[in-house]
């Protein structure tokens, strides 16, 4: 439980902004605008991370999501110029909305109904140092696996989009 007025107000402002931007991603009719609203959503979520005293993860969120992934998506939209730029829905729109609503109802019911074991602990001090220690001591194997995964994904992306040389594609 956080009892600091400023932090609580910040959380609610950020929560409303984030949900509003996420809804705009679904509502706007231009794909590039949807990407921009998604970037705003990512920034709002970074603010939520700061409220939860996860400063390092918040910075990573801004760098990777609001920076890299938003730019990557903008590039993907730009690289498909003749494709349909309308942010339109398939015939599954209705069932998808019903399913999402049901999932939301079930999860919220579980959240309210569960007796969470709440710890009475204050905000974390700056987390970067202890996170770095966690990555290089108990989590060193997953850390290395993650780097191999990232490199494989980058090579894969390059190989996929490479122009075919010498043969007719």
């Amino acid at each position: 439980m956080i009892a600091d007025n400023g932090i609580v107000i910040a959380f609610w402002v950020l929560a409303v902004t984030t949900i509003g931007c996420a809804l705009m991603v679904a509502a706007v009719r231009e794909l590039i605008q949807a990407v921009l609203f998604l970037a705003l959503t990512f920034v709002g979520i970074a603010g939520i991370y700061i409220v939860l005293s996860a400063d390092f993860v918040a910075v990573v969120q801004v760098l990777i999501y609001a920076g890299a992934i938003a730019v990557l998506m903008t590039f993907a939209v730009m690289l498909t110029p003749a494709a349909d730029r309308k942010n339109s829905e398939t015939a599954f729109q209705g069932p998808a909305a019903i399913l999402a609503g049901l999932v939301l109802a079930i999860v919220v019911f579980v959240i309210i109904d569960t007796d969470w074991r709440i710890a009475d602990r204050g905000a974390f001090p700056a987390t970067a140092a202890s996170l770095g220690e966690a990555f290089l001591k108990p989590y060193v194997v997953p850390f290395e696996v993650a780097s191999v995964l990232l490199m494989t994904a980058m090579i894969g992306a390059i190989v996929l989009t490479k122009e075919d040389e010498g043969e007719d594609a």
Binding site: L38, L52, I69, A76, V108, I111, L131, A134
Partner: protein, 111 residues
């Protein structure tokens, strides 16, 4: 210090409900959008909602090592970055062959 006029509190369930709402919006986006890039946006939103939940548990719930939630969130972000790179590359490749990235027009396994 003057007496506070209002004493606001933030509970675990508030943050979890926020994560659930974001997840539901992401689920709706990924199931309903026609453009493959729109579907990807929904998937990224769902991964972000999961991260909000992980960090909320890390901040509020009893644990011998509370920072593990943040470690896990960083791994989720890593995997999401890898997934976004490969998926967007796939979208561009499909576009080169078919001149479209609409998922309801990409309906053959071989061409």
């Amino acid at each position: 210090m003057p007496e506070l006029l209002l004493a606001l509190t933030l509970h675990l369930r508030d943050v979890l409900v926020l994560g659930a709402i974001l997840f539901a919006i992401g689920l709706y986006l990924s199931l309903s959008k026609r453009n493959a890039i729109g579907v990807l946006m929904g998937i990224e939103l769902m991964l972000n909602a999961v991260n909000v939940t992980l960090l909320a548990f890390s901040r509020f719930v009893v644990s011998p090592r509370p920072l593990d939630g943040q470690v896990f969130a960083v791994f989720v972000i890593t995997v999401a970055a890898a997934e976004a790179a490969v998926a967007l590359a796939l979208a561009v490749v499909v576009y080169k062959h078919r001149d479209t990235v609409n998922i309801d027009e990409i309906d053959v396994l071989r061409w």
